[in-house]
Symmetry: C2
Subunit: 263 residues, 2 copies
DNA sequence: AAGTGGTCTAGACCACCTA
DNA sequence: AGGTGGTCTAGACCACTTT
């Protein structure tokens, strides 16, 4: 607030601790170094939340990098949710906001990518009639024939997840073969596997294991679990497959971080 | 596969449909236009999954933009998980991979940001002794005093979420006041509110409503719910508050998208 | 009018991968 | 060795916000 007008000494024009500089010989890119400098400055309180960061041009001048490089640095911490850019106004330090966070499926990917230790066991496969939710999800009339498949995925001989899926029964469609192919499930999750779908929607829901689920997965009946619903669309944008994955929170931890994490 | 070597006509040097161009008069930025062009090309199958996109320099030449602009366009669809950059090798079209997706807390934010229609009711607040999980989460010795607060959040007069939290009992700490302040909870989630924390960890778990929870939230006992656990750290990087939020999947839908969504 | 972020250019050099 | 993505520069103009 009160700018040092009464001081015995002159404030430096740059009040922030300027001991940190960008080392252009370092192998760490300049923008990453500057981003780290800004993170530390925010963490230290040099830029309290709500305050405005120096303009990108000023940062560029101050740290001896080009405007684009400074911009990239600010972009990094903006993506982290630490600051927020407002066009025409400035870049402002954000308060810690939980909603800036998101959860990713990294743990799931890591397991499914470990193909050598993965086994798929088909528990059931049959033709069923569409009804209720499956009609809706796949956009077919009631009593339309649907392929039904139920699979158990084992990782290192331990049950990992139960997958249930329906697909439109169209013999000419490659989806049917794919559904029956034991690799299709992993193909949807592991980069490099087969797919054939164009896009998909996902929904995460809380649920619990039925007695049968628990037995199959070696978990306790009534134990809480995630249900990851998925609808996949073929190249014609028609829903082609609907299903879900049942997995315990231990096998698929969903965690996130917010605020200033320096390491 | 079979490249037209036997054709009556010469293939254009650029096999892709070149009718789409970047319109520099448009208000849509050139990089966004190019990103959309690439999305459509991938969707159409011009670049099948696994194939390599033209080099950024080639795209720049082809569409009459600078290399940096082409790079930014590729960056956009790379962030969407549609393609993957490999340094020194090229940019490759990804197969649809579910794990590229992430879930965000947008719905939660939207409600908590709607301050006018939000009410907070404190159900309980007391001093309790640390034990078990609370010791671990807050890093204090057993029997240390902890502030305990339980709040009900109502949105448009309807119960929305139940929040339970513990904080280290340190009278000199501002956390205690904050815990008892009815605005603190929303402050953690809504940008612009009060906070005072530096960083936080989040964990999402499946659970169900107890009879009491269900009654308070107007839901059915045994109904499945999300439990969003949070630990917040003060400016000294010490855990200062631990708690969780109980919310039904209807009130906090967690959805994601993968693959090529053009709209 | 001045300042800010957002976009864009036309170059440059580097690290990395593939041949 | 040549091609690719990754970084960087020193400018430029624009759209937007604030004064």
């Amino acid at each position: 607030m009160e700018v040092g007008s009464s001081g015995w000494f002159r404030e430096l024009s740059t009040p922030s601790n300027n001991s940190e500089t960008v080392d252009k010989q370092s192998h760490l890119p300049a923008y990453a170094q500057l981003a780290q400098i800004l993170r530390r400055a925010i963490s230290r309180g040099s830029y309290p939340s709500g305050s405005r960061l120096p303009a990108e041009a000023a940062l560029a001048r101050q740290y001896g990098v080009s405007a684009m490089t400074a911009r990239q640095a600010v972009g990094v911490i903006a993506e982290e949710g630490l600051v927020r850019r407002v066009q025409g106004s400035g870049t402002f330090v954000q308060k810690l906001t939980v909603t800036a966070s998101s959860f990713d499926l990294g743990a799931l990917r890591r397991v499914l990518a470990d193909q050598e230790n993965l086994k798929v066991r088909i528990l059931r496969s049959s033709v069923e009639r569409a009804a209720g939710i499956t009609c809706q999800a796949l956009g077919v009339a009631p009593y339309s024939p649907l392929i039904y498949v139920e699979r158990l995925l084992l990782h290192r001989e331990k049950p990992f997840t139960l997958q249930v899926g329906y697909a439109r029964f169209e013999p000419e469609s490659p989806v049917v073969e794919m559904m029956l192919d034991t690799t299709v499930l992993t193909g949807l999750f592991v980069e490099g596997g087969p797919s054939g779908f164009k896009k998909g929607k996902l929904r995460l829901l809380p649920t619990s294991f039925s007695e049968r689920d628990a037995q199959l997965l070696g978990d306790t009946p009534g134990g809480y679990a995630f249900r990851l619903e998925h609808i996949f669309y073929d190249t014609g944008d028609k829903p082609a497959a609907y299903g879900w994955l049942l997995v315990s929170p231990e096998n698929m931890p969903l965690t996130g971080r917010v605020g200033v994490w320096e390491e």
